[in-house]
């Protein structure tokens, strides 16, 4: 099934909701403007549709194979990566001084959506490279940066992130991999240990791979404060920049997974022969905090993945619903069978998918714009406000987009009926591929704890209350906008319910943290739905204005209003129910004896 980049929808969100022109006006972004972004989107769309989407099924069918440490990727992946690299997409957000294009996060995010939707497995390789690049750029010495960054930003040497070990998943304090000073005394370290779940840890698409590895130094304190970050290249790099000896790091095996089969998930072994050379990034024992600076970006990236895979699933479901003829249309005089898109429940399912995707795209891109403002806004207070907004929204975007991706791609299968359960239609691949997104880079549970703790309680709800006030302003505009008032009413009810849960969580977090934690994921979902509905309300107001002005494509703007109305009727009411669960549901989850579970 082919993929069509939703360029019009993306452009609408960028320009009308996320404030692309404001982002372009930030210092350092002078070279970017909406026309250039248009041109970039068009070309990225061609690449995603023409190169990445056609090999998506190859990745699923063939997966990767490993033979004696050598990983062979699925047919077409290597060639596609070379095209991707040569087209300069890897370095889109990379720092200009190392050969990147220095594009704003917001613009990069829009392009990443296309890569993720076209081929989620493929997109993970450049996404992880970006994360590794950022970690090095912010924390490594100039020497390490000059050796590795130009090659990583050009895409010649992709990067990986080696955090997880069998006993250290969500709890990285358990990391056991070791680093000892190299007896040669050259300042490098010898790394040993096993890392698991290493995405694109080994493959045949590049000459070298740059691993970022968490490990403990001999004298390191126990726990999270004793973890350091190291660069461990697959091939050592000579003084002149050429590739030297093969380093003592190898892929021991590939995981057998539920989805994203095109992406090799490696078990990596460091120092089997006692000779895995690594270089310390920044200061000793600061590794975890270095990782966390870019974990935020990575989490946002996974939020984009969730939304993107939902879009892919939606496109396939719509195409099937238009094509599949089955049963007469309800209430029609025509006795002949109709395309299933005419059936009310199929429409409900399609709109459930579509409205959530549009809400997620708006909220996600809003976060991207805030990320740019937090990085580059000239006014210190605005900068700080934007950073607080980013911090608050990231667990919501990550958690909500990916939890819903599971439901949305499941509806994508459902719309296909029995054929959805059959692999050949391809609907099932999206469903399986989506499943990991609510797990990796911190499960939804981890995101939700982060949200109610570090993001809500620790700042006494400041950012949450700012957002609730902004939602209220949109409510007032909607209620004064004639036929949009119905959206305003639904949004208002959701906003009021959320005020109560915020108060409840702030009151409970310290006194009864276990009770607060039971409500954390429902609260994350509640915030996602409320803020998504808020964005769609804004979209409806803008669309109404455009229609009144006779500007642009009327059908497009009318669809924005329909989508917002649907979301207000089908999604926003869930906020009040979630509020009940959050406020009154803790005891029932905690009272039952553990042995009875």
């Amino acid at each position: 099934m082919s993929y069509r980049a939703p360029v019009n929808d993306i452009r609408f969100v960028l320009n009308e909701l996320a404030g692309l022109s404001e982002v372009c006006a930030l210092p350092g972004n002078e070279d970017t403007n909406p026309e250039l972004v248009d041109a970039i989107l068009e070309e990225a769309a061609k690449f995603a549709e023409g190169v990445l989407a056609p090999i998506n099924r190859n990745g699923d069918l063939h997966g990767n194979t490993v033979d004696n440490g050598v990983v062979t990727t699925a047919p077409g992946f290597r060639d596609a990566y070379h095209q991707f690299r040569d087209a300069g997409w890897v370095g889109m957000r990379g720092p200009v001084e190392y050969g990147g294009q220095g594009m704003p996060a917001l613009v990069t995010m829009a392009v990443e959506e296309l890569w993720c939707a076209a081929n989620l497995s493929f997109s993970l390789c450049p996404l992880l490279t970006l994360g590794a690049t950022e970690a090095l750029h912010h924390h490594a010495s100039d020497e390490l940066k000059s050796i590795y960054l130009p090659k990583m930003i050009s895409g010649e040497w992709p990067g990986t992130m080696n955090l997880t070990e069998p006993q250290a998943g969500s709890d990285l304090a358990q990391v056991r991999s070791k680093a000892v000073p190299n007896p040669t005394g050259d300042g490098s370290y010898l790394i040993s240990g096993q890392k698991i779940f290493i995405t694109w840890g080994e493959h045949d698409m590049a000459d070298n791979i740059v691993h970022l590895v968490l490990a403990r130094l001999p004298d390191a304190p126990a726990g999270v404060k004793g973890i350091s970050l190291f660069v461990v290249p697959k091939f050592l790099v000579n003084a002149d920049g050429s590739l030297g000896a093969r380093n003592d790091v190898r892929c021991v095996s590939l995981e057998h997974k539920l989805g994203i089969h095109g992406s090799p998930t490696c078990v990596m072994s460091y120092g089997d022969n006692g000779n895995a050379v690594g270089y310390l990034v920044g200061e000793a024992n600061r590794g975890l905090s270095y990782m966390f600076t870019m974990m935020n970006h990575a989490r946002l990236g996974v939020g984009v993945e969730g939304m993107a895979i939902s879009e892919r699933s939606y496109q396939q479901a719509v195409a099937y619903a238009r094509d599949r003829v089955q049963s007469r249309a309800l209430g029609s005089d025509d006795a002949s069978s109709a395309a299933i898109i005419k059936h009310p429940d199929v429409r409900r399912m399609l709109m459930t998918m579509r409205s959530q995707i549009e809400a997620q795209r708006a909220l996600t891109y809003l976060t991207g714009a805030a990320l740019d403002k937090a990085a580059r806004h000239p006014d210190a207070a605005e900068k700080q406000k934007a950073q607080a907004l980013v911090n608050f929204l990231i667990p919501i975007v990550k958690g909500w987009n990916t939890e819903q991706a599971n439901e949305i791609t499941s509806l994508g299968v459902q719309i296909h009926g029995g054929m959805g359960f059959i692999e050949e239609t391809g609907a099932a691949q999206h469903y399986r591929d989506a499943r990991i997104t609510s797990i990796y880079e911190g499960t939804t549970g981890i995101q939700a704890l982060d949200l109610i703790g570090r993001k809500l309680a620790s700042e006494k709800g400041t950012t949450a209350k700012v957002l609730l006030t902004e939602v209220a302003a949109t409510v007032n505009k909607l209620k004064a906008a004639g036929d949009l008032a119905v959206i305003g009413d639904a949004l208002e009810a959701a906003q009021e319910a959320t005020i109560k849960t915020v108060d409840y969580l702030l009151a409970t977090f310290d006194s009864n943290p276990r009770a607060a934690a039971v409500g954390s994921v429902p609260f994350l979902k509640q915030m996602g739905i409320l803020l998504g509905g808020w964005q769609l309300g804004r979209a409806a107001l803008i669309a109404r204005q455009k229609l009144a002005d006779g500007e642009g494509d009327a059908a497009f703007f009318e669809s924005k209003i329909s989508v917002a109305r649907f979301f207000a009727a089908h999604q926003l009411p869930q906020v009040a129910a979630l509020a009940q669960t959050i406020r009154f549901g803790a005891e029932s989850a905690l009272e039952i004896g553990e042995e009875l579970l």
């Binding site: 026309e35 250039l36 041109a39 070309e43 190169v51």
Partner: protein, 249 residues
């Protein structure tokens, strides 16, 4: 050697156009527009000739509304060196386009002019031929292979029943067919660089050309809907129907 490539901004090939309610034209009010695919092939060929050292400069020309600038920027992102926009709101027919291009050619003095064999909106397939006639230059149309050597160009043409190779003395006109090449994916740094390449603007009046249409469109209509078929019981009935009703036998 300088090459000049003409590019047209047309309705994107993925768009299903609709006829306006009054039957005067197709409705292209809010649809996606992009470079005519045959012209993309023309730009790609020029860029390949430049990469092979046969061409030293590529000038792209587009004629029409202001937004044709985007089409020119795309061509420059693919590798063209500079752009010329002949800006006009007037509807342009092939003869007017050929005359305008002749005026540009007179100014620019390229040795090679490459155009798409036709545009996917009006499918006229006339501009290249008309331009050749106006300039008095040789033409190689429907090219599936272009070899430039010294002062000539060998053009392999896609014709009914096979291929024909013609040798043209430069300067010459080449129009491209689909099999000539596969246009490249544009590189991100080149999109940025294209913004900074020179783009000159001129008008039909500046070029001394009256672009007024010579042909009048009487009516635009959707193709007739295909009516439902019938099942025949036997071969005999089918043959009878083909003979008597369809009258094709």
């Amino acid at each position: 050697m300088k090459a000049l490539v003409a590019v047209k901004r047309v309705v994107d090939y993925n768009v299903k156009v609709r006829v306006k309610a009054d039957g005067s034209d197709v409705d292209i009010g809010n649809v996606k527009m992009s470079m005519n695919p045959f012209d993309e092939i023309a730009v790609e060929e020029a860029v390949r000739l430049k990469e092979a050292g046969k061409v030293s400069e590529i000038v792209v020309v587009s004629l029409g509304v202001k937004q044709c600038e985007e089409t020119l920027r795309t061509a420059m992102a693919m590798g063209a060196d500079r752009g010329i926009l002949v800006e006009t709101e007037a509807p342009l027919q092939p003869l007017a386009v050929a005359k305008l291009l002749k005026a540009v050619v007179d100014k620019e003095q390229p040795q090679l002019v490459i155009l798409g064999k036709q545009a996917i909106d009006d499918d006229a397939n006339q501009t290249g031929q008309m331009l050749a006639a106006l300039l008095g230059w040789p033409q190689g149309t429907f090219a599936s292979k272009v070899v430039v050597a010294d002062s000539k160009v060998d053009v392999t043409r896609e014709i009914d029943g096979g291929l024909e190779t013609v040798a043209l003395k430069l300067p010459a006109i080449v129009t491209t067919d689909l099999r000539l090449n596969e246009p490249r994916y544009v590189k991100l740094p080149n999109i940025m660089a294209a913004k900074k390449k020179p783009l000159d603007k001129t008008t039909p009046a500046d070029l001394g050309v009256d672009p007024a249409p010579r042909l009048t469109v009487l009516k635009v209509a959707e193709p007739a809907k295909r009516s439902a078929g019938v099942k025949v019981a036997s071969v005999q009935e089918l043959v009878a129907k083909l003979k008597n009703e369809a009258k094709v036998l």
